[in-house]
C-alpha cells in the first residue's frame, strides 16, 4: 500500500510539476479565485474579498519589505552595529491608529452587504429546505412541489479500497438526481432546517451558506442572475456521508421554470401530499396511489430502489451493515419479526441513534422498502402494504 502510493505520487506528480512550471495556474484545475458569482450578493462577496485581499497584500508587501530590508541590511555579518533605541510614543500611536482607520474603511462596505444579505423580505418564491442524513428535501411552499435530492454518483466510482474505481463522471460528487430548480431573476427565499443533525446548505456561486438546525427554521435568500447550474455541498459535518450530500441548483428562465412546475405537479396531483422520492422513474410509480394493494414483487422491486437511495449508506447493499455502528438487516430480529415494531422503527427512527425517522418517504415507499428488507438476502418474512404504513402513521 505504502509503496504503491509512492509510485502513484511520483506518477501523478510529474505532470503536475510540468503543469506548474509552464505557468498553468490559469488552467481551471489550478484555480486560485472564488468561483464566478451568480447572484448580486455573491458578486458583492466577490468584490469585498478582493478589496480586502488587496489591502492585505499591500500591507504585507510594505511591512515585510521593511523586514527583509532590515534582515539584509542590519545583519551582524554585514558589519551592522546595533542601535539602542526603543519606545517611541509617536510611532506607536501611528501604527495603532492607521490600521484602525483601514479597518473602518473595510467595515463600511461589509456592513452594507450584511444588511442586504439579511433582508429576506418580499420574496417571489419560498422554498423550504430540510436536511436529512444524507439527503436534501425541497418543498416549494406556493407550488405544492416537494421532492428529495440525493447524490447521483454511483458508489462504484467512489469506493476504491479493493480495486480502482470506475472512471469518474465530470461532476463526480457534485451531481444529484433531482436538482432544485429556480427562476432566474426572482428573489428566492429559503427556509432552512434539518431533521436529525446540523447540516449546511452551501452554494458558493449564489453566496449562500446556511446551517440547517434541527428544530429551528432559519431564512436566507438569493436571486440567480443568469440561467445555469450551480453546485455546492453540505458544509457542516453531519456524519459519515457528509462528503456525499451535494446540492445542485438549476436556474431557468421564468417560462421554463413555470413549465417545470407544471410537470412536477402533474406527477403529483395531490398538492397536499406531494412527496416523491429519489430514484426517479420506478419510484415515481410508487407515489401514484397509496390505497391500492400491491403485489409482493412490485413492492420488492420498488423497495430495492428506495433502499439503494436511503439505506445503503449505513446498512449496506449486502444488508450486512457495518457492525457495531450500523446493524445488519440480513437476519435481523427486527427486520424479520413482527410488522408493527418494524414499521414504527423506520417511520419514527430510534432516538439517540443514527437510525433517523423516514417519515418523509411516502407510505408506498416505506411499504416497499420494508418489504424489501423483510424479503431480501436471507430474510423470509412477509410483505407490508402501504395501507399498513398509513395506519401506523395515523396511530
Amino acid at each position: 500500500m505504502g509503496l504503491d502510493m509512492i509510485r502513484k505520487t511520483i506518477r501523478n506528480a510529474a505532470p503536475a510539476v510540468a503543469a506548474l512550471v509552464m505557468g498553468a495556474t490559469a488552467n481551471a484545475a489550478y484555480d486560485v479565485d472564488i468561483l464566478p458569482p451568480a447572484s448580486p450578493i455573491a458578486q458583492q462577496i466577490y468584490d469585498l474579498h478582493w478589496a480586502i485581499m488587496w489591502v492585505c497584500i499591500v500591507i504585507f508587501v510594505v511591512v515585510f519589505g521593511a523586514m527583509f530590508y532590515s534582515i539584509f541590511k542590519h545583519r551582524k555579518s554585514a558589519g551592522a552595529k546595533a542601535a539602542h533605541f526603543h519606545e517611541n510614543t509617536t510611532v506607536e500611536v501611528i501604527w495603532t491608529v492607521i490600521p484602525f482607520l483601514i479597518l473602518v474603511g473595510m467595515a463600511y462596505p461589509a456592513t452594507k452587504t450584511v444588511l442586504e444579505m439579511k433582508d429576506a423580505s418580499n420574496p417571489d418564491l419560498t422554498i423550504k429546505v430540510t436536511a436529512y442524513q444524507w439527503a436534501w428535501e425541497y418543498d416549494y411552499l406556493q407550488d405544492g412541489v416537494k421532492f428529495n435530492s440525493l447524490l447521483a454518483t454511483p458508489r462504484a466510482q467512489i469506493e476504491e479500497w479493493q480495486k480502482k474505481g470506475e472512471a469518474k463522471n465530470p461532476d463526480y460528487l457534485l451531481e444529484v438526481d433531482n436538482p432544485m430548480v429556480v427562476p432566474v431573476g426572482k428573489k428566492v427565499r429559503l427556509l432552512v432546517t434539518a431533521n436529525d443533525v446540523i447540516h449546511g446548505w452551501y452554494v458558493p456561486q449564489l453566496g449562500i451558506n446556511q446551517y440547517g438546525i434541527p428544530g429551528f427554521v432559519k431564512d436566507t435568500w438569493f436571486k440567480a442572475d443568469k440561467a445555469g447550474t450551480y453546485r455546492g455541498q453540505c458544509s457542516q459535518i453531519c456524519g459519515k456521508e457528509h462528503g456525499y450530500m451535494p446540492i445542485v441548483v438549476v436556474a431557468k428562465a421564468p417560462e421554463d421554470y413555470a413549465k417545470w412546475v407544471k410537470e412536477q405537479q402533474a406527477k403529483n396531483p395531490q398538492a397536499a401530499a406531494p412527496q416523491q422520492v429519489a430514484a426517479a422513474a420506478p419510484v415515481a410509480a410508487v407515489a401514484e396511489d397509496p390505497s391500492r394493494k400491491w403485489t409482493a414483487d412490485e413492492l420488492k422491486a420498488a423497495g430495492e430502489k428506495v433502499y439503494a437511495a436511503n439505506c445503503v449508506a449505513c446498512h449496506q447493499a449486502t444488508g450486512k451493515g457495518m457492525p457495531p455502528a450500523f446493524p445488519a438487516l440480513d437476519g435481523s430480529k427486527v427486520a424479520t419479526g413482527a410488522k408493527g415494531p418494524q414499521i414504527a422503527l423506520v417511520l419514527n427512527g430510534k432516538q439517540g441513534t443514527a437510525m433517523a425517522s423516514f417519515s418523509r418517504l411516502t407510505d408506498a415507499e416505506l411499504a416497499a422498502v420494508i418489504t424489501y428488507t423483510r424479503t431480501a438476502w436471507g430474510n423470509k418474512a412477509g410483505e407490508v402494504q402501504p395501507s399498513e404504513v398509513k395506519a401506523a402513521r395515523k396511530g
Binding site: 462577496i45 532590515s70 551582524k76 510611532v91 446556511q210 457495518m322
Partner: protein
Amino acid sequence: MSAATHAQDHAHHDDHAHHPTGIKRWLFTTNHKDIGTMYLWFSLAMFFTGGVMALLIRAELFQPGLQFVNPEFFNSLTTVHGLVMVFGAIMPAWVGFANWLIPMQVGAADMAFPRMNNWSFWLVVPAAILLVASFFVPGGAAASGWTLYPPLIIQQGISIDMTILAVHILGASSIMGSINIITTILNLRAPGMTLMKMPLFVWTWLITAYLLIAVMPVLAGAVTMLLTDRHFGTSFFNAAGGGDPTMFMHIFWFFGHPEVYIMILPAFGVVSAIIPAFARKPLFGYASMVYATASIAILSFIVWGHHMFTVGMPAAGQLFFMYATMLIAVPTGVKVFNWIATMWQGSMTFETPMLFSIGFICLFTIGGFSGLVLAITPVDITLHNTYYVVAHFHYVLVSGALFSIFAGIYFWLPKFTGKMYSEKLGKLHFWLSVIGFNIAFFPQHFLGLAGMPRRIPDYALQFAEWNMWSSIGAFIFGFSQLLFLYNVIECIRSNRKAADNPWEGADTLEWTHLPSPAPYHSFETAPVVK
C-alpha cells in the same frame, strides 16, 4: 535585566540534590524542571500521534475516491487529530515551557504549588490515553469534528463518553496549572522584579493562565451538558425537549476563541524573547507589548460569534462580531510592528531560533490576514467550513504556535541540557519545515475559495490538483519532524558543551544568573534584580 554575574554557588547543588532516581523520580517529582521536561516530551509524543493521523488524512485526500479509509474512520481521524494537537501537543508544550522558565525568569526556587504541579502533569497522561484508546472501542473514536457539536455527537457510542471524560481531566489539569502559574508569578518574584520588569514570556503566560481559568470551566460545562443529554434525559441541546443545538455552539466558542489565544499568546512571549536576543537590541516597545497582549486577551472574549455567522444570527449580531473581530487586528498589528522595529538597525544573526521566529512572524501574519478576510461576515459566509478555514488555522497554529515552540526549544536547549544543538541540522529542520508547510497549506486557500468543504474524505475532480500538492507538502513537513526528534536527542547526547549564555543578546535571569545546564534547584536564595 541586571549585570551578568554568575551565582556560582548554585552549581554544586546538583551533587547533593536529594531526589529519588529511576521511575520514581518522574512519578513523584515536584521539581519544576523535571515536570517541565515531562510535559515537553509528552507534547512531542502527542505531536507525532496527531501527526500520524494528519498524514493518514492527507494520504486519503491525495486523490479523489476512497482509497485507504472509510468515511467514518476519516471523520474520527480529523476529530482526534484536532483534539490531540490542541490539547495534547500545543497546550502541554506551553505548560512545559512555563514550568521550566517561569521560576527561573522571575528568580523563584520552584513553582508555588509543587505537588499540585505533579498532579497537573500526571492527569494529562490518562486523558491522552482515553482520547487515543477511543479508536479501539465499538463505534470508533469521536467523529463529530473537534468542535463536538450536538446532535451529531449524541448519535455516537461510548467513545464520546471517553472524549468527554478526557476533556474534563484536561480541564482540571489546566486549571491547576494556571493557578500555579499565576501564584508563582504574583508571589514568588525575586526582589526588584517588578511586574513591568518581567520578561514578556512571563507576562504572556500570566495572561494566558487567566484565560484558561476563565474558559476551561465553560468547556467543562458544555461537555457535561452533552453527557447529561446523552445519558440522563436532559434536553439542553435538543429542540424536541425545548433545548437548542445553537446554544452548544455559543458555549463551545465562548471557550474556543480564547482557546486559540491560549495557544498563541505564549508564542508571542517566546518570539519577544528571541528577536531581541538575536538582533542584540532591546525589544522596541515593552510596555505596548504588554498592553497589546492584554487587549487581545480581553477582546478574545467577545468575538466567538465569528464562528457562527452561518447559523442565521440577526444582522446586529453579525455586525457586532464582525467589528469586534476586526478590532483584534489592531493589537496584533502592534505586535508585528514591534518585532520588526526591534530588528530594525539591530545587529542580527540567524541561528535556528531566530529563523523559526522570523518564519513565525511572516507566516503567522499570513494567518492573521486570512483571519481578517474571514472576519468580514459576507466573505466568511462563502468560506465558512471550507479549506480556506483549514489553511487559516494551520497558519496560526502550525507556523504560529508550533514554529515558536520549535524556536523556543532550540533557544533554550542549551539551558535545559547544557549542550549545544547542531546548528546545521537545526537550519535544515527549519527550511524543510517552512517549505513543506507552505506546500501543504498554501494551496488550501485556493481549495477553500473554490468551495471545497472541510472534513470530507473525498472531493470533486476540480479540487484534485491542489489536494495532491497539499498532500505532498504534508508528507515533506511530517517527515521533517523526525529530524527535529533526532536533533534533540543528538543534542542531549553530544559533547558540545554550551556556554552559560551562548547567545550574545540574551539577558533574562536564566541566562545571566545560572549555569548551563540549569542546576536541579535554582534560585534557592533569590537574586536581586536591579
